[in-house]
């Protein structure tokens, strides 16, 4: 990691770029936190996590425009999903880390997901009613500024930050000012009546791999545009493995028995961003016009204030 004397300018400046050139991944075997965890703290981009299955249904919000369903229903050509978070998104590229990295769906290797056939059908049917959305339930969760769960998060321009303290790893997503706590103190999961967008995460270190078990998801976790929902039976196991001091390999086992006959796995990696990049506020709901654009203003109820 670079010394803290490196310039703190947020905009990437020539001095920082030169310093970044000197930012070589040192030999593996980096520092530890005071309580003995491998120290992974810092700012990263996340890469390559959400991947396409082998025979995906037509994406209702298809960027290529080839899908007739993706044509806007608004005369001005700008809705109902006006380029939500539509960045090409490479402002914060970090280093790649050495070697080829695994990304997207890695198990099963042929990317044919083990759908329960009736659930696959239901999901394909659901997609047909998302553009334009026939009701609130069919509005993409991202467009509602909902918490992104484990899979969404608008990578590219929005970094992730890892913090550690005794008994806890915290992951901050710039995107929608999201935070996740991974408890390392041996506590049990919360009870089954607590349902969460981000789930409840209990983790442990196995050597240089942080293994995280997450349960208690609500039924509003979205994986991708082609898999718009997972169920509240979702149970994930994540492995954050230090590849070198600038790269964390990442793998998630997705076990959702309501939708799939067996678990499947996706992979990606986190790579450190250049020094001088700090987290920034990403206020989502405060500026969002999406539901207004889609459905118009809800009818007033009641009269003026007294």
């Amino acid at each position: 990691m670079l010394p803290s004397t490196v310039s703190r300018r947020i905009a990437i400046a020539p001095a920082a770029a030169l310093a970044a050139l000197a930012w070589l991944p040192p030999a593996f075997g980096q520092g530890r936190t005071p309580d003995g965890q491998p120290d992974i703290q810092g700012m990263y981009t996340r890469n390559g996590v959400v991947g396409l299955e082998a025979k995906p249904p037509v994406n209702p919000i298809d960027p290529s425009g080839a899908n007739p369903l993706s044509v806007s229903n608004r005369g001005d050509g700008l809705g109902p999903y006006p380029s939500i978070f539509g960045r090409g998104g490479t402002v914060l590229r970090g280093g790649q880390g050495r070697g080829q990295r695994r990304t997207g769906i890695v198990d099963p290797p042929d990317r044919n997901l083990p759908w329960r056939p009736e659930e696959d059908q239901k999901r394909r049917e659901f997609l047909l009613h998302m553009n334009p959305p026939v009701d609130l339930r069919h509005v993409e969760l991202n467009a509602r500024c909902a918490l992104p769960g484990l899979f969404q998060g608008e990578d590219g321009n929005n970094p992730y930050q890892f913090l550690q303290r005794p008994g806890e790893v915290m992951i901050l997503y710039d995107y929608n000012h999201t935070s996740r706590v991974i408890h390392l103190d041996g506590r049990p999961h919360v009870g089954p009546s607590i349902r969460l967008f981000m789930g409840d995460s209990i983790g442990r270190w196995e050597g240089n791999t942080l293994v995280v078990d997450t349960t208690n998801f609500n039924d509003r976790t979205s994986y991708s545009r082609e898999i718009p929902y997972l169920s509240d039976a979702l149970h994930t196991t994540e492995r954050f493995s230090l590849a070198d001091s600038n790269t964390i390999d990442y793998e998630v086992t997705i076990d959702d028995q309501k939708l799939f006959t067996k678990p499947w796995k996706i992979a990606g990696y986190f790579s450190r961003v250049p020094p001088g990049v700090a987290s920034m506020e990403f206020a989502c709901a405060e500026g969002s016009q999406t539901l207004l654009d889609i459905f118009g203003k809800p009818p007033e109820k009641g009269g003026p204030d007294k």
Partner: protein, 238 residues
């Protein structure tokens, strides 16, 4: 107001500073009204948290506050829209928050609307030309055992409470966190805004550690719940 006794034994971080990490919550009625107020339906009564009692509005701003208060059900950005509450209101919303303290950065996550603040502790200045923010840009440093956080770069959209107390985009807040003992923080927020007030003024209150075993923040997804209610009959047939 809040008595500042000599600090008892407090937890300390590896560098020797007091360790504020943990889950905390204010226990007062300030988020409804930061001044003395009686109860009304849905509003608990409260002693004010403003030192001296008075908020020193300029005359135009006092009139605006009265107007805000009349319109508060639709004009309060938190009650009407579930928007981010700003600083210091986020501290005294009736929901817990978590402080994660590391040597170079302190993060504060709030259960209400999953609000988030990151506080660099590296003596960096507020960056020039940042976009305006709801929760401000925070920079922290130590003064002895007190954590001092300087917060600037606000927009003018947040209120200090649900009663219409407001500020401009010139708002500058200086927070001071001091551990009275392991389970109590003495919290002070100095408010400076030359566009709105005639002088600086201050709020103060204790913050209480949430002592339950296995405590952690849950989710209060106000915006989502509001959408579910407002748009439950969408599409609307007129």
């Amino acid at each position: 107001m809040v008595s500042l006794a000599a600090s008892a034994q407090v937890p300390r971080a590896s560098g020797g500073q007091p360790d504020f990490s943990g889950v905390w919550q204010a226990v007062n009625a300030a988020s409804w009204d930061i001044q003395d107020h009686s109860g009304e339906l849905g509003v608990p009564p409260g002693l004010g948290v403003v030192e001296g009692g008075e908020i020193p509005y300029q005359p135009w701003a006092a009139a605006r506050k009265r107007e805000n208060r009349l319109n508060r059900k639709t004009a309060d950005p938190v009650a009407a829209n579930c928007f981010l509450p700003g600083v210091p209101r986020a501290t005294y919303m009736p929901y817990p928050f978590e402080i994660v303290q590391t040597p170079k950065l302190i993060a504060i996550t709030y259960e209400f609307a999953h609000a988030l603040r990151t506080i660099p502790m590296d003596a960096s200045p507020h960056p020039e030309g940042l976009p305006d923010t709801w929760m401000g840009d925070s920079r922290g440093h130590w003064e002895g055992d007190t954590l001092v956080v300087d917060v600037k770069n606000f927009n003018d959209q947040t209120w200090f409470d649900a009663a219409g107390n407001f500020h401009s985009d010139q708002l500058h807040v200086i927070e001071r966190y001091t551990l009275k003992d392991a389970d109590h923080i003495l919290y002070e927020a100095t408010i400076e805004d030359p566009k709105v007030f005639t002088r600086t003024w201050k709020m103060s209150m204790p913050l209480y550690r949430r002592l339950e075993k296995n405590i952690g923040l849950l989710e209060y997804e106000c915006v989502f719940y509001q959408q579910e209610e407002k748009y439950k009959n969408a599409p609307f047939h007129r």
